[in-house]
Symmetry: D2
Subunit: 406 residues, 4 copies
């Protein structure tokens, strides 16, 4: 394949690894390299990536830097939260949900620029390579894909640094740079590697970058009010913001109160288990609040159907199948359920806890205290319960009368 690639779009962060890849692509593939750097809220300035690319010989017009923050939250994060998606009971899919958007935008740049290949810096053992490449191919089945980590022999930190040194790539460590393998976007930041490779070992306090430790969070709790329309967050404390603005605000609130740290062992799509630590402050609040507004506005069976399908939906996103007929089908089902998910939820934030303290919906609440009290009401006749129970029990009664035992 090496002599067939003419023009490749590289997902470029400006960091050491993707800079080495940039150089390696130029050398090994002898092709024109375009860089694509996305702002999905990772919290880093992007201009240094431009300068770095220029310094590595990329032409100005071949450098693409895009702010995808609002698209990310509006079209990826929010649809996913409509489903209350959680992977393996714990993980809020922060990395998984960002990859499809990057892949789609990268494939679009390839199309615009006539590039015939794309490249990314994900390793050959992780989930991200799958998520990137399924995304590329869903948009353009003819794209060539270069995954250097699966190809080259720079398979140790030492070899990488040697390669960088040899090719004049700056390898001085950024001050304050974390030694962990990390990923960040508006929804979360993640950590892998080092001490985390022993699941029995505790994560170090200094590893966490975004949130306060619950122990160092304020002694005063804070109450906030979230407003939802059709299942999506639209305002915090009556302040209407853009999707990205809302999530940034939630992150700030959660981080302050020590909310959203997670330390798990998860199952990768490629077949092995891995340890990951995550901080998802805003997402943790959002999930709790979304469930709360659903609790008063969603029909029971609609809610149960969503719950039964959620794991499958979460697996699809984790495994990289965001752009797939099956995810679109599930999304159609989920979105159909959210039409009346309107209202407000009040939450108390305190040292790692997110506690629902109130929920209301002016027009869409299905809650009616009168139906629950033990006194009589007009809608519910307690005697109906006898027939309801008897017919629900009928199959047990028939079985029992036939001598079947439990």
């Amino acid at each position: 394949m090496k002599d067939k690639v003419k023009k490749v779009v590289l997902a470029y962060s400006g960091g050491l690894d993707t800079s080495i890849i940039l150089k390696w692509l130029q050398d090994e593939y002898n092709c024109e390299v375009l860089t694509f750097t996305a702002d999905i809220g990772q919290g880093e300035e992007l201009e240094p990536a431009r300068l770095k690319a220029l310094s590595l010989g990329i032409k100005e017009e071949n450098i693409f830097i895009k702010d995808l923050k609002d698209e990310f939250v509006k079209d990826y994060v929010f649809p996913m939260f409509r489903a209350n998606a959680i992977y393996e009971g714990e993980y809020l899919l922060g990395t998984s949900i960002a990859r499809p958007l990057i892949a789609k935008t990268q494939a679009q740049i390839a199309l615009q620029t006539g590039a015939d290949a794309v490249s990314h810096g994900a390793t050959g053992k992780g989930n991200d390579q799958v998520r990137f490449e399924l995304g590329y191919l869903a948009f353009n089945p003819d794209l060539k894909i270069i995954a250097p980590w699966r190809e080259w022999d720079l398979n140790s930190r030492e070899k990488l640094l040697a390669y960088a040194a040899k090719h004049g790539i700056d390898i001085s460590k950024k001050k304050g740079k974390s030694p962990y393998s990390m990923d960040a976007n508006l929804l979360h930041i993640s950590y892998e590697g080092l001490v985390l490779e022993d699941p029995a070992a505790r994560a170090e306090d200094e590893m966490w970058r975004w949130t306060k430790s619950p122990k160092e969070a304020p002694n005063e709790s804070q109450i906030i009010e979230l407003e939802f329309k059709k299942g999506d967050l639209v305002a915090i404390d009556d302040e209407f913001l853009s999707p990205a603005g809302l999530l940034a605000k939630l992150n700030e609130l959660g981080a302050k109160h020590g909310i959203g740290r997670l330390d798990i062992v998860e199952n990768r799509f490629v077949g092995m288990k891995s340890r990951g630590c995550y901080e998802t402050p805003g997402g943790t609040i959002l999930l709790k609040a979304h469930r709360a507004i659903e609790s008063i506005t969603l029909d029971r069976e609609a809610a149960h159907l969503k719950d039964e399908l959620m794991p499958k939906y979460a697996h699809l996103i984790y495994n990289g199948f965001w752009f797939s007929p099956e995810r679109l089908m599930l999304q159609a089902l989920i979105d159909e359920s959210q039409k009346c998910v309107n209202g407000k939820v009040r939450l108390e934030l305190y040292k790692g806890n997110v506690m629902v303290v109130g929920r209301e919906s002016a027009n869409d609440s299905l809650f009616n205290a009168a139906f629950c009290t033990f006194e009589e009401d007009e809608v519910y006749n307690q005697k109906d319960a006898e027939g309801f129970i008897k017919l629900n029990a009928l199959r047990f009664i028939i079985a029992g009368k036939n001598g079947r035992k439990f």
Copy 2:
């Protein structure tokens, strides 16, 4: 039916409501009444129930008091936690899981004593009537069931008190008795009614009975270690206790650290929404720990299959179908998965937070750091990922080449 009942076994707590029912059964049905009082860890002495029953004219030999705590935890709570069961994303099913055991034991007493009927004090609007009655009928389809709340006209607090007064039942309020409608057992305590009937209104601080508020929990965190065998908890900090002993210990630890409070609106089986507050301190810790030990010992697809079926399993328990072929089928599936779920989990408890800080399994860990690192290993060849991704993408490639668009 009234003239046909000869002997009825009443689920009797010794409280005002079931004492009124006791009297009402004697008067209305003119039949012999037996009382059954179960200790499932509700935290009340049972001897007063005996005295009360005697005082209401029940014969000594007709009073049945049973300690079901270990059976409850071993055969009901633990099997349910193997499934990581949660109803509607939040509720740990504390009330739901206790009803079948009470119903089964009550049906057995009826059988032993030749009683032809059973009776309970659950109202006609709640889930518990269903859980009790499905349980009775699963064990004896011929039992007559008397549900006074659906039959009588004592449908207000005033009428009840008047009836009690008229029949010489002590209506003096116990000191410190909660005004809420409550249920308690070794797994949890629940609250309904009063201010909770407005889902927008915050629960009062003084309502909560078991746990400290996170705000009043100790400033010092505590680390504990839980050991599992075949998915069940067997020891806490190397102390091997009975099932009930273990759960009691976990409750104590959780309560101290402000763990396990929950405030939700849930969907009842009988069709309406209701607000409930729950304290499940030990259960909250147990769920987190069980997921953690599974995370290193359970195969990925086994874990995912469990996650996909869990909501259905939880619905069954919530709706009262513990003794049903479908629950037994799901239990067989779940139990099959737990054979290798052995090992230890360390957790830090702090002001409402349960944080996993380590997990290990001497013989059953499927975690191997070597497979995750970005360096080469013997088992995993990074180049395999290319084929893996390509064939996973093949259907997108074919669709794309046929002109199908996302």
Copy 3:
């Protein structure tokens, strides 16, 4: 309730049973009765129902007769067939799918005419009462429902006939009328009762009304071609017809060739098993053809997701939950999958057999023989399969190396 009903809309067939109900409503409820008779393709003339109603004292303006055949097929039958819905592996839901439309139309007539009640002739032991009443209440929760079979004491054939005779209702048996309990519409005809009440006994040959016996079907087979657009049938042998016209044509073809007889024991929603025989000639052909056109146009995972959800969808329809949020959610998912289900299917019909002999789709086929042959092609590299298999096996390899055994 009896003195509260002023005006009731009765689902009226013109037959003996609903004529008795008509009279009984007049007498017992002393209210104005409106009749509603729907043509959903049951194959009976409706004018006799008008005359009968008039003869029983119903005013001309209170008689409603509606042709719902096209609405039935277009908005009920076709959406259901998009899902390939089958109840308990066999039953094509012919009765179930018609009830919601009748109920909806009846509720609408009540609304237009200011009626405060509706009534139907379904018994208290069957599924149809549920389907009717859930439909009524979904459209108007305030409607009073009168279900005579659950109320009156005419609970035997003798009492009914006596009542009819006493009230001057003609009880002479129609010539050729079947002794079975039957239901018919454009999708099917069903039989219950008599010899069928013994599941070991064979159905009588003369019971079947619509289809030839396979043994009496033509010795010559017939090949037909069905064309689909977005999952719906649009033409037969290049003849474009209305939805009802298409189904009628398919019925004719199937009936001629002995197709679509079914004899099963099914589980009713109300809790018991019952024996039913069904003839669904057109539906049987349609299901086979729809699966065939999907087989070349539908993505694999889209197809599998549909298959996994189909039983739940079928249970909802069987149980009467057509108008429910959960059915609408599933329908949204199913409809999303059908966008590219376009093309033609050729079938051979022969003595009870429906055999697919060809399928094609001009623009939407995902089938490409080149990918399947054992020779090399450009899209598929056989060496990719090695990586694909290895990573799919990785969890077994890791487990095996850790000593886990099957």
Copy 4:
């Protein structure tokens, strides 16, 4: 890898392709080759395979021929039929279910003989390579796997024949040998390739090998009676046979009456669609009969749970995950359901049709006609239906009163 293999066990049919592989392994890998030939009812004599192997230089003690017919039916086919497994609505999984047994036995022979590798003749585009290799690795994660079709350059019929000729392998076509790519075992025979590669083209009459065409089947129908114990077939017409004997007998009956032909386009695990034709005469009868005996002995919710999980179970088998924790979990669930599936089913076989004409179970029938009739009975009170419906409708009533519309 080529210089590392010392001893390889080849799945050997005695045919041309695996004979070429045998030779190729000797030449390319320069290793000792052992042959394993299984009798799973493919209907070919196995002694010729022994002679052929000897002629190709395999030592007598390195030739393994095993009769696996009873193990195949008892431990693979029957457990699968307990689930009523069907892939994509049509395919009875005849090939899929045989591969795991072959793989397991082959891996066991490798273990016994100290072989370090296994090899098979499945191509790189099909499902069978996956099924074989997942099976091998589940039993021995250290086995090396040689898949010649993915390795060599004999990627056309011409090259293969040239290679055979060059190495003295007999390439004379067996008389009557089908030109299709075929697979056969006791459960079915399959066809791929040639004209079938056009899904619009009809399969040729002469392709089918096992069954009569429905058109040529006897004009007289035949009634047979199948007896089941715990969900498994135990006797046909009161004749108790071994599992393999039973299936062989059913095949004979089905073949005679033109039963079990199937022509479909299916989705392969490796990502493309393919056309396959199948004859499954006995299996087609067995499935129909098993559903019929379940229809009177299985609880409703047990049956529905099975139906909902069946597609997943079928996908697992199709994809080669027979030996996986998730299949074992599902099997545990299914087997739990079959305890009472005992009784007899009578079927009429006629020109491609399998018609149930009676079912009975002496001790385990849950069918009771009395509960279905419209007359009163003791168990079922029709008035109970009112409460049952009202509470099932309650969520619609509440939603409707809150103004929610369908």
